[in-house]
Amino acid sequence: MTRLLTVENLTVGLPQGADRPHAVEGLSLHVDAGEILCVVGESGSGKSITANTVMGLLPKLLPVRGGSITFEGEDILALSEEAMRDRRGRRMAMVFQEPMTALNPLMKVGDQIAEALAVHGRGQDAAKRVPELLAAVNLPDPASIARSHPFRLSGGQRQRVMIAMALALEPALLIADEPTTALDVTTQMQILRLVREIQSRQGMGVMFITHDFGVVAEIADRVVVMQHGRIVEQGAAQQVLNAPQHPYTRALIAAVPHGDAAARPAVSVQPMLEMKGIEKTYHRGGWFGPKATVRAIHSADFTLFKGETLGLVGESGSGKSTLARCVVRLVEPEKGEIIFAGEDLRPLSRAGWLPYRKRIQMVFQDPYASLNPRRKVGDAIAEGPITHGVDPAEARARAAELLRLVQLDPSALERYPHEFSGGQRQRIGLARALAMQPELLIADEPVSALDVSVQAQVLNLLADIRKRLGLTMLFITHDLRVAAQICDRIAVMQRGAIVEIGSTAEVFGAPKHPYTRALLDSIPGQGWTPPDLSRSA
């Protein structure tokens, strides 16, 4: 096996004022031809910096302070910009995370791939090669895709185009920086299979950056685990996944949602929320020209029983968030009944809604957008009760209590949201919702923006609080493993309709609908059961 890439003792500095002096410190790794090396780590661990350094795409603010990178026998840190450009694309290629922004929106995708060929003097083959490449990444009807602009393609299709472009000149090394993170789970599985297939067909070396151990289990030959810019563990995939040595790796693997659907007893039969015949249609288009309609929700009836957690699962665009937002009137449906505690909420006025605002609360997805940056944490938590007539001093005292409940220090009251990490902000958002003492809590993807270890903490906290306060919860997620861990029942949504609803064990154990089956088959790393590390640790 030939050694393609060797990184030795690489140190990359960070600008002054950053939280640590080096983005990457004393990093050594290697990639051989014909293997997939997974670089795993949480956000900020320096894995993307490593990839960008190898590609010579480091921002000027980040100087390389030491070490060497040898690619095909050459020290590429010593190469001129000119020489580096020649290697890039021809010998080493990169696939980026965000397929929506990585393609030029004004250029047909065929032309973009042809451009990659032309830059390296192979433009004359373009007419023949472009359809071949598009076919190689399993895109249907390559000729018509080549003539399309990127906006006509879905996220998965764009990512395939990116991969086709990266493969255009048959590079020896492919670097993929979280190429499936922005994609739905079924598309993710297709892309992972594609990368595997192409890699084994062409014998490339692949450096695959990810934060998801499921993806690692699916695709990796070897694994490098990074934390705070250093490698804490590396080795063969089987060994790292099943017998992790370093405490950080162990913690990460222990935090992976295990996806076990334990049978749970039915909690109660007293309905708390019933959605009947809800319909929401979005219209697009102006006064002139044809109008487009999107049926965001139709035939999505469900009943939420008191004390249970119902998971709404589906891919992006399935209408799960819209449905949840209908319950709190952030979206107003045209039709249907929202029966909460015996009363239909849909026809109520803004004022008529007020008493229900206390009883139904929501936790949002993005911890960075869900708190007002100009309001202190204490005020953010206390303002809800104050609006509903609680004495301000009392509300603030309760806010301190709530912070303790969500395992934050009460000193946080006087601080601003930007002083907290993503996981801490999500707890603050939870405290804000709990301040209203709700009966029904709607959690809209509350952990999907968090790193896996933080995700586990927040999920445990949610489960604990739900039990202690006897909350009913509507939990929206795209991650089936998370749903399995926290939900009593699961409703699977596809294109605005609930296609299957049942107890978690039923849905996971014996899925009835083909779409549910497809979703379950797409969970990455199914062949791997995370080892139970609780005892041996």
Binding site: R357, M362, F364, S370, N372, T387, R432
Partner: protein
Amino acid sequence: MKTFWRNFARNRGAVVGLVILVLVLIVALTAPWIFPGSPWDMAGAPFAPPGEDGMLLGTDSLGRDVAAGIAHGARVSLLVGAVSTVVSLVIGIGLGAIAGYLGGWVDDVVMRFTEFFQTIPSFVLAILLVAIFTPTIQSIVFAIAVVSWPPVARVVRAEFLSLRSREFVQASEVLGKSRISIVLGDILPNALSPIVVLSSLMVASAILLESALSFLGLGDPNMMSWGFLIGSGRSVIRMAWWMSVFPGIAIFLTVLSLNLVGEGLSDALNPRLARNRGGKP
């Protein structure tokens, strides 16, 4: 606040602008003591060039001191600039907030109304308004405010449209806060940076508008302003250049300094954009 000043001071031009602006303000505030008496009174021989007759910047065709005119004119120009900006901010923020927050047909109506004002050349409309209401300081402020609010409304609406769908605003909705407290407490404070930047530029353009109106003889006849000084010197510019040039320099420096300060504010309020500009680290 400290980081705000550090980011502001990183833009050298902004600091220079701030210094000039403070100097102009000091001159305006102390004018009654530096140049006691009315600037309309005769102070020396007519057409005295700068430096002669004890007149620093010369005298005009009636022997009035040009320096006194500029100092007293600064009061009028700055006052008109500030007050008309405040008025147009009130109109612009009000309409923009309503349009952006409520959306739907309200947004359509308000924006068509705004476009109505934007399609009329603003200076012509200002002349028309002042001519109808007879030139007084109030009517001038009113006219300037009426022609300069549409950009504010557009900026505020755009900010509100994007902030309205942010999750912290939705969280406030779910908490059951009233519309007014959401608009004033959650959205507006987060939309302030572009408004602050825009308003410093609006003061500058209001000063220019007022000068242009006065130059055309539509200024308040009882108020000495920079535009009036230039206008009155226009017919004799070949024999008494100083009558037009010095007030012109005053306008130039003030407007320039306001623009520099505006850019500095924009850098200080959006430090990330500022650092990218010009590739400076």
